[in-house]
């Protein structure tokens, strides 16, 4: 039995740009739903009209509280006030490690944790509760590595994309779920407003040619670096003995740094 709060944001599909449940927030909700039953509070700060909110309800969430505010507002204070008003106070605050569709800086959970005076652990993929009011967390690191750590409640965790996939959202529960709207006063996010905004366009890949220890940085190196990403560099061994082949593979892998030294 543990009381948890989940912060859910509205995501944005990378291809269509349509609103959807944010992938890591959905995983946070999945984790919350899989914890032993306690009180679950789901909060969203933003527009209560987004169709993506129903996607969260479709996962089996009975109620979602929306702190209604216009776009470009700073939700930190409003969320903080709402979390502080929860009684009993939740022991765990779960959310995705990065929103998609807003500033996407991943700062909000840190600001909340600092203001609440709670510990924060980012990029979590698994959570087990201990009897003594602490929890064992597993953090996802690069290249499939995992790190375990322990933290005492209350704490904030942000969920990594490698966490278990969220259950599908079902139409029936999504239709039946309740959205409670609370109008809040949120200040304008001045730092965000000061930024220039324009559509993103991909930049050409930065070529790290001639980096320390690398090639000479000449034209040939640049050409190679620009083209080798697409087609193979095309070393070909035809009909070597198995041992020759093995050695070639071994050397190649070692060059790539894939083998344990």
């Amino acid at each position: 039995m543990v009381d948890v709060a989940v912060l859910l944001s509205v995501g944005r599909h990378p291809v269509s740009g349509r609103a959807r449940r944010a992938p890591t927030d959905a995983r946070a909700l999945e984790l919350a739903l899989s914890l032993p039953p306690g009180r679950r509070t789901a909060l969203h700060a933003g527009s209560p009209d987004s169709p993506a909110l129903r996607d969260y309800l479709g996962m089996g969430l009975a109620e979602l509280t929306v702190l209604a505010m216009a776009e470009g507002r700073d939700p930190t204070d409003a969320l903080l006030a709402r979390l502080r008003a929860l009684s009993p106070a939740p022991s765990i605050l779960l959310t995705g490690n990065r929103a998609e569709g807003g500033e996407d800086s991943g700062m909000l959970p840190y600001s909340l944790a600092h203001a609440l005076g709670w510990a924060i652990v980012p990029d979590v993929v698994a959570l087990t509760l201990n009897d003594d009011g602490s929890a064992e967390l597993v953090q996802a690191l690069a290249r499939g590595q995992r790190r375990a750590l322990r933290v005492a409640m209350p704490f904030v965790v942000t969920i990594h994309p490698a966490a278990p996939a969220p259950r599908p959202s079902a139409f029936g529960p999504a239709r039946r779920g309740r959205i409670t709207v609370e109008a809040v006063d949120a200040p304008e996010d001045t730092a965000l407003a000061a930024c220039a905004v324009r559509p993103w366009r991909d930049r050409p890949k930065r070529l790290t040619v001639g980096a320390p220890g690398g090639g000479s940085g000449g034209a040939l190196d640049r050409l190679r670096a620009a083209t080798e990403a697409k087609a193979g560099q095309g070393r070909l061994l035809v009909g070597p003995t198995p041992d020759e082949a093995a050695r070639a593979i071994y050397d190649c892998l070692q060059e790539q740094g894939m083998l344990p030294r």
Binding site: H13, V15, R20, G60, P168, S169, A170, F171, P173, R176
Partner: protein, 634 residues
């Protein structure tokens, strides 16, 4: 006295049987209400029996014959036995007639015995069914002796005749009580099912074919979303399940069962029948089960969940179905298996969110991008930049609207679409495409039970199409063809929709395309389920192949009885594991013809069959073959 005894026994058994039938009827009447034309249905019943049911049963002439003999003899003998209750009718002539009918029935009963004891088809169920020949022959033989004796004026001692009446009475009781819960259940329930069938249009007195799924009412918040428990089915569909005689024709036709996937359509229907009993299990079922699934593990009940890891129907069973309709095509009781599967899936997807992982991902992409693969709509024409396809904008007019479908995003199918476009150009057909305005037709979503996404896509597609003028829609995708032609009308979209095979045939016969290089080689043709069984179109593709000079070879299981490629109903997404792969089995059928080329007319079939490991016949789309055969000579 003998006559009185005989008619009393008959009447008593019939009355008890009627009582039991009413008890049985209470089970299926627990289902949801349904709009049924009772009198029209009853009026159409005899013709449906003689035309539609006979067409199915008659595919095995022996079975048709013993049915005619047994059922005809039985019904006539019952009528005559009851008539004997009236003293004035107790005439030797009547006894003679009775003897005749009973002899007919005896012949039929012996044929049943021959089939069950000697031929023993593996798909038949055992259990109570094993006693059927004994009951049939026992009843008819005993009463036949009585009737012969009476028509001859009563030679045998009375005690012997009465004993014979008793033996016949046992046989009759076995048969009539079997109407309640035994082999002859199909006689009464089958008849009622024919009368109150949920798809009356499928019979010869209707359109002759009715394959489009029925839309769910999503506007009403408390309307049911599919079937989660037995009583969620409409009463006439529960009645339909009860009509199952466990003949196993569906089992023999089912591609999933043949591949060892955990689905046997016969057991699935029996699961639905058994689920109406409270607190029982499926141990009494005496046929083949779902491959690899145990029997007797789950408790039945009309309000228990039907699908679940420990419920009567395992999720793998439900998601193994390719919705190919081979079972429906073969069912002599006209049971609609696919409707049941889709209703069960609807509940799993819409209420439980229990769609298998990969399929759920596809549904999510569909909702977010309107394409199952999560591609951008404005990239649907990327493969055809050099073809400069005319895009039909809102308010514009064209003759033929080419529906590209999801194949436009797939490297392989872009090749066949290109061939089709070149052919239309070559033949001078004025056509256009929708471009980025074309959304997925919703076929996969609907078969996976996601009615909400299907209706959303369909509504928006209909809106797009209604804003444009055209004479007909042409598509190379039978799934889109079926959706647009048979399922959009229920949501308000009605147009002339053609599969490209019909259009190619039209162009070849009208001379718009001339064959310059006849194919001149053996070609096997695989019928796509959604073109053949769903739409009855099995002739046009064959005529096209004939027109381009192919030496057409028929595979085992072709035409309306074709075997699925394994790609329908979202089966590649739900990916239930069996002993074999369905496309591998289908490719074996193609190999057996010895033809080096396998012609297909469906993007899904192309992908599934081309995914079979080589060596195998080359897979070629109809349009590709026609394109090569009509290459203009310099």
């Amino acid at each position: 006295m003998i006559a009185a005894a005989l008619s009393t026994v008959t009447l008593t058994v019939l009355l008890v049987g009627l009582g039991l039938a009413l008890v049985q009827a209470r089970r299926w009447r627990a289902g949801r209400s349904a709009k049924v034309g009772v009198w029209a249905g009853l009026a159409a019943l005899p013709a449906r029996y003689l035309v539609d049911v006979h067409e199915v049963v008659g595919r095995t002439p022996f079975n048709a014959r013993f049915h005619a003999l047994t059922a005809g003899g039985f019904l006539a003998s019952l009528a005559l036995s009851v008539a004997l209750a009236l003293p004035p009718l107790r005439h030797p002539l009547l006894w003679g007639l009775l003897a005749l009918t009973l002899a007919v029935m005896l012949a039929g009963g012996m044929m049943v015995g021959y089939r069950r004891r000697v031929l023993r088809p593996a798909e038949l169920s055992g259990g109570r069914f094993s006693r059927l020949p004994l009951a049939l022959t026992g009843f008819s033989a005993a009463f036949l002796l009585v009737a012969l004796d009476q028509s001859a004026g009563g030679i045998l001692p009375v005690w012997l005749v009465l004993t014979l009446v008793a033996v016949g009475g046992w046989g009759l009781a076995e048969l009539v009580f079997g109407v309640w819960n035994g082999p002859l259940k199909h006689a009464v329930h089958g008849a009622l099912h024919l009368a109150f069938h949920p798809r009356p249009a499928r019979f010869h007195d209707g359109a002759g074919r009715d394959t489009g799924l029925r839309p769910l009412d999503l506007a009403q918040a408390d309307a049911p979303l599919g079937a989660g428990q037995a009583v969620d089915f409409a009463w006439n569909r529960l009645l339909g399940f009860d009509a199952c005689v466990q003949c196993g024709r569906c089992e023999s036709a089912c591609p999933a069962y043949a591949a060892g996937l955990p689905l046997n359509p016969k057991k699935l229907v029996q699961d639905l029948v058994l689920s109406l009993d409270d607190g029982s299990d499926d141990r009494a079922y005496a046929g083949h089960g779902h491959p690899g699934r145990p029997v007797g593990a789950a408790v039945t009940g009309p309000t228990r969940p039907l699908v679940g890891a420990d419920a009567l129907i395992h999720p793998d069973t439900l998601w193994a179905c390719t919705t190919c309709r081979a079972c429906v095509q073969e069912c002599p009781m006209m049971i609609e298996h696919v409707d049941a599967v889709v209703d069960l899936r609807r509940f799993q997807t819409l209420e439980r969110g229990a769609t298998p992982v990969k399929a759920a991902g596809v549904l999510e992409e569909l909702r977010a991008t309107d394409t199952p693969s999560g591609r951008a709509l404005d990239r649907r024409l990327d493969w055809a930049v050099d073809l400069r396809l005319p895009v039909l904008a809102a308010g514009e007019t064209c003759d033929t609207l080419l529906w590209l479908g999801d194949g436009a995003f797939d490297l392989r199918n872009q090749r066949s679409l290109r061939a089709l476009v070149l052919l239309l150009r070559r033949a001078g057909v004025e056509f256009a495409v929708l471009g980025a305005a074309e959304l997925d037709c919703g076929d996969v979503a609907r078969r996976l039970g996601d009615e909400a996404t299907f209706q959303d896509l369909a509504r928006r597609n209909i809106q797009t199409l209604e804003a444009r003028r055209f004479r007909r829609i042409v598509t190379a995708d039978p799934h889109a063809f079926h959706c647009l032609r048979n399922e959009y009308p229920a949501l308000g979209g009605r147009w002339t929709v053609q599969h490209h095979s019909a259009v190619l045939l039209e162009l070849l016969t009208s001379g718009a395309l001339t064959v310059t290089r006849p194919l001149d080689g053996p070609v096997a043709y695989h019928d796509p389920c959604y073109l053949g069984r769903y739409n009855g179109e099995i002739d046009a593709p064959r005529a096209v192949l004939d027109a381009i000079g192919a030496q057409r070879r028929e595979m085992e299981r072709s035409g309306l009885r074709s075997r699925c490629c394994g790609g329908g109903g979202g089966a590649p997404l739900t990916d239930v594991v069996g002993e074999r792969r369905i496309p591998d089995m289908r490719m074996d059928d193609a190999r057996a013809t010895g033809a080096p080329t396998l012609a297909v007319g469906c993007p899904t079939c192309t992908l599934m069959l081309e995914g079979v490991v080589e060596p195998r016949p080359q897979v070629a789309e109809l349009a590709e073959l026609v394109l090569t055969a009509t290459e203009p000579t310099p």
